[in-house]
Amino acid sequence: MNTEQQKKNKIMSILMKTEVSMVAIIAIIFIAASLGTQNFLTAYNLTNILKQCAIIGIISIAETYVIITAGIDISCGAIVGMSTLIVAMSQAKWGLSVPVSLLLGILVAIISGVFNAALVYEFRVPAFVATLGSQTILRGLIKVISNGGTVAGINKSFAGFASASVGFIPNLAIVWFVIAVICFLILKYTIFGRNLFVLGSGEEVAKLNGISIRKTIYSTYAFAGLLYGIAGILLCARINSAIPTAGEAYETNAIAASVLGGASLAGGCGSVFGTVLGTILIILIDNVGTQFGIGAFVMQVITGCVIVIAIVVDQLKKRGKR
């Protein structure tokens, strides 16, 4: 094969990537909204979009990690909600300092992740059921702890963090970016990251290649828990309270963002960058819908269509029709 050919191959293989379709679709929507509406391309609105992406973006990255191992995490929203609640309770009810409240929030989230891992690893409960179970348990606990009510009285400066920006970039988005970069690097540069892909290719493969399934599963779910914890903290700051419904139904968006970004529920593939793009697409659709003044009902139809089309475009490009 000559170098000309190789170059061509390389370009082709880049174009084949899911991320490219995603960028293209996002760009189309972006351009359409910029030209078609007055206020889309304003600093306020763009800051806005970034801010809205952050929390769901972080959760989606964690979900991507789990999905790469051929798992799935239905409990992400509930863990986020639990972390939000603990942070709020610590600050507002238990009189703890902000740093301690954050630590507690993260701790609880990590413990929830470890609980998931224990179900999946020790008892071989399929990830879907394990995390469905812990979702239900956590949602119940949240209500038991909060007695079903709103927890207000969050520390002002802590809550202020969520609305502040550095220049045009909202703090929330900065946290998201930093986490995305770190997670990207972990996936690319560490043995842990590689092991996720091997595990996602099959437990037998992982085991016989000397990879500790136990360690990998625990690390994955615990790490996801850590990210959910951070997301929970940010959510607490953003909504300036904890409500029992916090984080509800986030799992759908998180899974959708991962899959839009190229992850496969069969395991073994997924990328942080793709997931970031998937998150942006999901948030963008909503924003653009409002900008165009489209009613909520019709908007829901359109959202469904865009998600489907995004995947269809990618699949057609990759493999053509069957």
Binding site: T190, L208, N209
Partner: protein
Amino acid sequence: MEQEVLLKIENVVKTYPGVQALKGITTTIKKGEVRALVGENGAGKSTLIKCIMGVESPTEGKVEINVDGTWKSPKNAIEAKDYGMHANYQNVNIAKNLSIAENYFLGRVPLKGKFVDWNTMYTESQKVIDKFQLNVNPRDTIVSLPVAMQAMITISKISVNDNIRLVIFDEPTALLENDKVETLFKYIRELKESGVSVIYVSHRLEEIMEICDSVTIMKDGSYVETKDIKEVDKDYLISKMVGRSMVDIYNIERQKPGKELLRVEHLSGDKFTDVSFTLREGEILGFFGLVGAGRSEVMRAIFGVDKIHSGKIFVKGEEVSINSPKQAILKGIGFLTEDRRKDGLALQQSVKLNTNMYSYDMISKNGIINLKKETDRAEEYRKKVAVKTPSVNQIVNNLSGGNQQKVVIAKLLCRNPDILIFDEPTVGVDVGAKDEIFKIIEKLTAQGKGVIIVSSYLPEAMGLSDRMIVMSEGHVAGSLDSQELRSLQEEDVLRLASTVNFD
């Protein structure tokens, strides 16, 4: 009498992204002819078969089969079956959650009225099982069977069909031991007698000399020539396939055994009892036995995959207790498993990741991988074991079977362990590459490493080993030193392997 033509392959070209697998193949096959297809790994044999069967559509050209006088081109497996075409694919393709009976009748379930006739299915299956002497229950699910038995199921499955015109075997014997190969050959002769044509792909050239009428040689996706089997010999085929001639590939430099590396004493597990042996530096220790003899199980136990009931394992003179493959690896043991698709490779991942996944710790610091070394190593071993792939970023699943096997070997070599256990290392590997692999083993022993080779392919087991353990039904039936190895006939070893009644 000039026989009727059954199959016409006309200028078949198949292109995958970045790879031209077939560059224009033309040949015809007559009724009742047994045609061999030979070529190096990645020559395009399996791809050609898929094009013949209509499960892959050729980029150019066509394949036609003579169905009672009219020429038909199957567009998919359903049509192929209607035309009486059946294939036994290289990657054992079988519905793992279903029973043997259902697998026999996949796509042609017997009906009573509109409903599945389970009774007929079981009784008919039992007949096939008996015919092929497979000592299994038709109700067993496939997952509970060892790969070799799975391979026999897919082979025997063809005989449940009626109205067979063409049967294709893609490396059917790779996982089989002698008497099963004999069963297969008997079946092929039966087919031939009833006027069925057979296409037979194998890297074992003596099999081809034994069973085939003619042979088509392929190289790099191109058609080289078709010869009557009487016109060729093994050396001729090798020189045409590989482009050079090869004398006895088993003739490698032997080392003087050094210090003891591995000692196993009275090891017992689920499927084997009281197994003892030692392995020394520079030694090649062969393990031979029939399917189910328990060789793989012994190796798995040593490697910490399966539980040990009793017995001791010593590595370099020190007693060890190994509870997981990871511990085994850290103790300097490397294990190449027999089922590469199930547990050897991360199929959907790149050649690069697969080459390195056994030894990332060796190219990382604090868990952080040196990406340059990762790529370099992948490139290095791609050359060393001659993996044919457009790039190290190719998904392993897209490689030809033999090339997948080479990646598994590269993976093990990367680790550079002191004790290397190869379970069926040359499954599906072409002669040229086998030669390369044996050269590598030669180098390894020269470095003072110890090598265990588990093989069901007797010529290889006998040719390669310095010493050989013969197992039968979970017991050591005999242990042959190099002198005995050179003096014994294959039949003697086989007899030993068939020994029964230990208690």
